[in-house]
Symmetry: C2
Subunit: 513 residues, 2 copies
């Protein structure tokens, strides 16, 4: 059937199951139940220590068909997923569902496991462009990958939609009884937030560490009462891999113009004021927006309440300058952020559920005033795609995109009008990640389009000289620059299911041919 | 039937239900299931603020038969339980089960509610001698009170044995969206640890605060994703009430001699060494033990790993002197402890479950080397009573007594041989709180009795001049001083059920007549 935003979705998807259809961003925010959880009693005197990954796999009784979960705080420097999956593969175990918070190019060995039927399912909230994403797009994974958001994943775990058999913590520091922190050791990566639901809801939890400290580890991000086993290995990863991709302010004049216009729009609509809260991504244009906002805050002596999200040194500087009272951090994007989280109590961690789970009594995204979002494509209904690229191949996932858009008072998408000689604005995006209902503004180098639903914003800027246009005008400009591209051709196989944060299916991704 | 330690317990107890009989301290440490939990979705823009207790009771739909829970971090300075129960009583609601972590003399209004049938059930992990305890002993409560330990209560909540309809947080500081801390405001009481299971498992959670701060509260002990409503009141309590009872080192020569002997015993048996961990109560003799241990640690340059439990300024001094690397705090007993928990990251909080729940993969009590325990009575099987006094009236509850005894490597009971001209050592204690199986040593002013099960300890001290005697000899000495008292007379009505930490019934308390 066609869902409420016009995407054609089957009622049943092979390898995924029955579909609950997307019904609108705020349609399913009703009371829920968190599922029951197995727990193991560890007696006084019992040890949790295992000498090797193999020994712990024995104790865990890992077998065909299990769901094993991993987290991506070490990003492209993570060795743990590969280490565990290599040991699993060696045992001849098949049909594993890898439930990772994020997948990066370093996880390329998964491609071979997909071909061999060792890995038949993958779910992620984030995926980098790279071999695994491409292999999924090409149909190499038996079951459709499931793409969730940072808030949707905790929801799926807590509701029982996604049951995790074993969660493997990449633990930068641990003691022998399973207390873990992310801020000490060679692979210190900061907060371990995304993995908190796994720690609480997995049947069994293992901490894999290369930095074993005397008991008790201090500070503690994950406490011993949630950890069943501890394994010491030589190296869990390379903390230099945390800083992946562009995490500097853009120098591109187009990006800088977009950033300037965005900040002016925020100011003109009254959002840059005392107590306001703000989140931006780590992309070059997003960081340029932060730089512009910073200038205005300083000029106006504005002190905001909090900045949130994945955190870069740039946001840490704003905290240290007194521009925000607090940071709420779900992932440290660089070592300056790691140090700040470690040393500054004003720099707080938030679990994935606290960050964005729509089925709790209020995640932090609900308190966000302004969110700056990226886009691969946006359509004239303001629906945004951050999953598939111009070639139809998977190159990302929602992360916090749809959560923050739904929660924040002002969700601004920033993008240049064209990317790689293709138009960014379309009649319909290839894949809907974030519904237009939750997107308020689209800022480009050629003008700003306000979602017509936001009559209040249109009213507020009517006396300014900001270049306000319609999204249809942006589409025309965009196509004038690039021409109208041929529609992409896809195969019939559904290679990925895009779950909205509430667990409904908002879209699917089909195989590239 | 008679349980394994010879206590006569019915298979069914009216107002309590079917009894699972106690089978030994380590008999029930098997895999378990944590129960599922209701959760409410709070939409962006929705408010959690209520103007009055009455308004929040309306929203919560509080009605007959509900279980309302409270915590005792404000101890005898807590106003919140009374405030909520007065509003409940005024509405004509009946048959409420008050699930409090602790009850103090300030909660005397409960006695009237018991008489009126407004309150028909009470469960506690701690109860002070006073009007409520006496009223329970006299049979004024319709159903038997349930006495649990600090670890047993989280177990009962997480397993679903005790379902909580509404948890009311006495919140020293909160923001309008339900982030709470215990370290700021006029009623700052430090950690809020005991209440963490309630926060996670209650159907609904309310924060009642007298110190509303701008969003977000920071630091945060309880996060907004667990809190449904927030109410601002004039005053939640008097933080001076935290320091209740004797929390200074005893000056009594008997207590000092016991303390000295205890420390010598710990040293002779090799427990005072680098990395050792230690817990003691806040009573005068217990603190005197800490003072003696401190001396030995300084002499020997010993650095311990952690001190745990309810924390006094005395333990904080040991942390600051570098005698322990860390503190694990379940309750601040004075304002020095509150300040330390607020300012020193080495002073960590532990939830009740992390502290003592036997059905998790290892509570902190499992890592305790030495625990110093008090006793009202001890018997020749080393069973300890801390619940009923010499008159048979309830004057306490386990708190962490049975948890730490079961977990620690060396559980030492310290007491004078007589109390109020009555013998402390008996053939059988009035009420078993802590089974003798988990008690290793009993230290008195006249000698030290080692549990015969601990042949290793007997071996270790055989060449010392410590005054080692049998528990039977201590009983004789005790009775020689006081005479053998007449057995106490009780009525037939069971007024309290004593649950062991694993949820089995270890004993019952009968009505005083």
């Amino acid at each position: 059937m066609k869902n409420v935003i016009g995407r054609e979705i089957p009622d049943n998807i092979e390898g995924f199951g029955k579909v609950r259809h997307y019904e609108g961003a705020y349609a399913n925010l009703t009371d829920r139940v968190k599922v029951s959880v197995k727990t193991r009693s560890v007696k006084p005197g019992d040890s949790k220590l295992c000498e090797t990954i193999d020994e712990v796999l024995d104790k865990l009784e890992v077998k065909d068909g299990m769901t094993l979960s991993f987290h991506h705080h070490l990003r492209n420097g993570d060795y743990v997923l590969n280490m565990v999956m290599a040991a699993v593969a060696k045992r001849g175990i098949k049909d594993i569902h890898v439930a990772a918070t994020g997948i990066f190019p370093i996880h390329e060995p998964l491609v071979e496991y997909m071909k061999e039927g060792i890995v038949t399912g993958i779910s992620v909230n984030y995926i980098s462009p790279g071999p695994v994403a491409t292999a999924i797009s090409k149909g190499l994974l038996k079951n459709p990958a499931v793409m969730r958001s940072h808030g949707g994943r905790p929801r799926s775990i807590e509701s029982g939609d996604m049951h995790i058999d074993v969660a493997f913590i990449a633990a930068p520091t641990a003691d022998w009884y399973g207390n873990v922190n992310g801020v000490q050791g060679n692979a210190a990566c900061g907060t371990l937030s995304y993995f908190m639901p796994d720690i609480e809801y997995a049947d069994q939890v293992v901490a894999i560490t290369d930095n074993m400290v005397p008991y008790p580890a201090c500070p503690i991000d994950i406490t011993q009462d949630h950890v069943d086993y501890v394994v010491k290995v030589d190296c869990i990863g390379d903390s230099k891999g945390i800083t992946t991709g562009t995490m500097n302010i853009t120098k591109d004049p187009v990006g800088l113009r977009i950033a300037k216009l965005t900040a002016l729009f925020m100011d003109a609509t009254g959002y840059i004021e005392n107590e306001f809260s703000f989140q931006t991504g780590a992309g070059g244009t997003s960081l340029a927006v932060a730089a512009e906002v910073r200038k205005i805050m300083k000029e106006k002596n504005v002190v905001g309440s909090f900045a949130a999200g994945g955190v870069t040194g740039y946001i840490v500087d704003m905290l240290n300058d007194g521009l925000f009272r607090n940071i709420w951090d779900v992932q440290c994007f660089d070592l300056k952020a790691v140090a700040s989280y470690r040393d500054n109590p004003k720099h707080m961690s938030m679990s994935g559920s606290l960050y964005g789970n729509p089925h709790v009594p209020g995640p932090i995204v609900n308190n966000l005033d302004v969110m700056i979002l990226g886009a691969t494509e946006i359509d004239t209904d303001f629906n945004v795609n951050v999953i598939t690229g111009s070639d139809g191949i998977i190159m990302g996932a929602s992360g916090g995109h749809e959560d923050t858009a739904a929660g924040s008072k002002l969700a601004i998408v920033v993008s240049s009008l064209t990317k790689g000689r293709l138009p960014v604005v379309k009649d319909a995006v290839t894949t809907v990640t974030t519904p237009g209902e939750t997107v308020d503004v689209f800022v480009t180098e050629r003008g700003i389009a306000i979602n017509p639903r936001r009559v209040d914003l249109i009213e507020k800027i009517k006396d300014t000289d900001l270049p306000i246009v319609t999204i249809e005008e942006l589409k025309e400009m965009s196509e004038r620059l690039t021409g109208t591209p041929e529609p992409m051709q896809f195969g019939e196989k559904i290679v990925a299911v895009v779950e909205y944060r509430d667990g409904t299916v908002i879209d699917v991704v089909k195989q590239v041919i």
